[in-house]
């Protein structure tokens, strides 16, 4: 029996060694949730749901966009220090009416193990950063946010940064025949959005940072009657307008 003791001790040591690995770094961290709530003016945004667009019924088929290099910023007297939350992710606000609970809760992305502390702002890039935009969807494994064949456009040699697809029933006759397909992409469409905001991350609780994205604002100052789509290379003006709208008017922090 005595001979067995060392074996048992050693095997239990091995067992514990592999079962729970304490974080070797002593820095305290927490999980940060980025919550994106889609809305249409003051209403919760869902696809296949009718909203009012300047007196005409409008309905969305999809609304989504990529975000890149999201960082928390710490201002250390004029010398900002950045802490990465995520490199790339896909925010999909195309919730169905049956999923109204999820739509109300918002689209949640969790960034794990972020050092706790006081931060003074958050930077979000809209679109796919140029280094990743040189790659293609096929380069990624199943489940990766960039593995989306429908969000890559070979002629543009770019990921499709955002898709806003909607239909308007212009004459309110029940037929949603006026179609809008605003797709954006290419390095020139990449946008950086900085929100100055005091953000405190505590060790004991998951912190949520809440954003709203107003789909109505994607069309702001765009003549939707004449500008119905942006899917070819020559539509860069419209692509830029749409991305400016996302950056400046649609996306806000709560």
């Amino acid at each position: 029996m005595k001979k067995l003791f060392p074996i048992i001790l050693f095997s239990s040591f091995l067992f514990f060694q592999y079962s729970c690995k304490p974080d070797p770094t002593l820095e305290a961290t927490t999980d940060v949730e980025l919550v994106f709530k889609g809305k249409y003016a003051d209403e919760v945004l869902m696809i296949n749901t009718v909203y009012d667009y300047d007196g005409s019924p409008i309905r969305f088929d999809q609304f989504n966009f990529y975000i890149s290099n999201v960082v928390l910023v710490k201002e250390i007297v004029g010398n900002p220090e950045e802490t990465e939350l995520l490199e790339i992710d896909f925010v999909d606000l195309s919730f169905k009416p049956a999923d109204i609970t999820d739509a109300t809760k918002g689209f949640v992305i969790t960034a794990p193990n972020i050092p706790v502390g006081e931060y003074s702002g958050i930077k979000i890039n809209l679109g796919v950063a140029s280094d990743l935009n040189k790659t293609s969807w096929e380069d990624y494994g199943t489940g990766h946010p960039l593995r989306k064949p429908g969000h890559f456009w070979s002629a543009w040699e770019s990921f499709i940064f955002s898709k806003t697809e909607a239909k308007i029933d212009i004459d309110s006759d029940g037929s949603f025949s006026h179609k809008l397909a605003y797709h954006t992409g290419s390095d020139a469409a990449y946008r950086t959005k900085f929100f100055a905001k005091d953000i405190t991350l505590d060790e004991d609780a998951t912190s949520s940072i809440l954003f709203t994205v107003d789909a109505k604002m994607m069309f702001d100052e765009i003549d939707v009657m004449t500008e119905t789509g942006t899917h070819n290379i020559n539509d860069m003006d419209l692509v830029n307008e749409v991305m400016d709208n996302l950056q400046e008017k649609a996306l806000a922090i709560e």
Binding site: M1, L4, F5, I8, S11, S12, I47, N48, R59, D61, K96, A98, S136, W137, E138, D139, Y140, G141, T142, R147, P149, G150, F152, W153, S154, A155, E165, A166, K167, S175, F176, S177, K179, L180, A181, G229, H231, N232, I233, N234
Partner: protein, 369 residues
């Protein structure tokens, strides 16, 4: 205290004992197949240029023996009630694994309502198999045709017992999956083997691949114009919008759309509800998978019900898109294209560059019998 140590020790021992490397005798199980060696060889898929990594489920790694078993099962009428049909009855290799008819007919002569689908590059489909996406994995899918009354119309219980009594299948199951006894043959293992075979059905030797990746061929002017319209690449040509749903290089964006085939008064009136029948969401009614257009020239007739005989008819349909305003979930990218006759021909010519006969003639994809 000593008792607790003993308990730990026995748990430890039992974890160690019946490992993969042990002979069945050491594990206390004997069976009629254990004398047959079980040394499966890993099979690695070579990733063609422009293709993604294929997702292989962790519980069904590809092996040479598994694929070979799958190929046998795929071609063997043992899977049908009256031993007249097998998978290949509706999925001919020469037609890129379709059957050349509008809707397929099963063993009882009953015709289904849907057209057989090409199994080419099937391992890359991730958003749901079948026209309506109702099957999640190839393992799950392969279970379906056996019991479908308008396909092989057998029962798995019956097929399992035919396989167990067969002169060579028990050995092949042993070699592929390491079973000890023929009683361990199950429908799940049969489905795994067929799925492994199906994952090998990769097509990447079309003229398109030779032009784009291998630099071994060049498009004609017409094909080149066709491709530029297909991908909305402009250059003075109209957009044909195809790539939104049939994205290159796989020829599919692996998603479901209503491409405006049917004129309906309301979303509940589609003859075939497609995706909506699966999700129970009315807005999904009339949506179908946009299938790959690789080898499309070999897979006529076209669409889920085989309504179009030729690619020319398909292009005419998209060019006119007669129902683009008709039902409220027709995709935003469906609209009349206003292509000239020459431009329509250019598109057809481009689609022909996606033909790969190296694939259809690949000896590894033919009947082993």
């Amino acid at each position: 205290m000593n008792k607790i140590y003993f308990l730990f020790f026995f748990i430890f021992l039992s974890i160690l004992s019946c490992g993969n490397d042990d002979t069945p005798e050491e594990c206390g199980i004997t069976g009629d197949l254990s004398d047959i060696p079980y040394n499966p060889q890993n099979y690695t898929i070579t990733k063609p240029d422009g293709f993604p990594e294929m997702f292989i489920p962790a519980d069904n790694p590809m092996t040479v023996e598994g694929i070979e078993l799958g190929r046998h099962l795929f071609f063997d009428p043992i899977l049908s009630a009256d031993s007249t049909m097998s998978c290949v009855s509706c999925h001919f290799p020469s037609l890129s694994f379709t059957d050349g008819v509008a809707t397929s007919t099963g063993i009882d002569g009953i015709s289904g309502t849907r057209s057989s689908m090409s199994l080419l590059n099937i391992g890359y489909v991730e958003k749901g198999l079948f026209w309506d996406g109702r099957s999640n994995t190839l393992e799950e899918q392969a279970l379906v045709p056996i019991e479908d009354p308008i396909e092989l119309h057998d029962t798995w219980e019956n097929v399992e017992s035919k396989l167990k009594d067969h002169p060579s299948y028990p050995e092949m199951f042993r070699e592929a999956f390491g079973i000890e006894d023929r009683s361990e043959i199950t429908k799940e293992l049969a489905a795994k083997a067929m799925a492994q075979f199906e994952r090998t059905l990769i097509s990447s030797n079309s003229k398109y691949d030779k032009v784009i990746f291998q630099g071994q061929a060049a498009f004609t002017d017409s094909e080149d114009r066709g491709m530029r319209m297909y991908t909305d690449a402009q250059g003075g040509l109209p957009d044909a919008e195809c790539a939104h749903c049939h994205a290159l290089h796989l020829g599919t964006s692996d998603d479901f759309f209503n491409n405006g085939l049917d004129s309906v008064g309301s979303l509940t009136e589609f003859m075939d509800l497609g995706l909506g029948g699966v999700t129970q969401d009315t807005f999904d009614n009339g949506k179908f998978r946009a299938p790959t257009l690789r080898n499309i020239a070999l897979t006529a007739p076209y669409m889920h019900d085989g309504r179009f005989e030729t690619l020319e008819e398909v292009i005419d349909f998209y060019n006119e898109s007669p129902n683009h305003e008709n039902s409220s979930n027709v995709d935003v990218n469906i609209r009349p294209l206003e292509l000239t006759d020459q431009q329509k021909q250019d598109l057809v010519n481009f689609l022909h560059t996606l033909t790969d006969t190296v694939f259809t003639k690949n000896p590894a994809f033919q009947s082993p019998f």
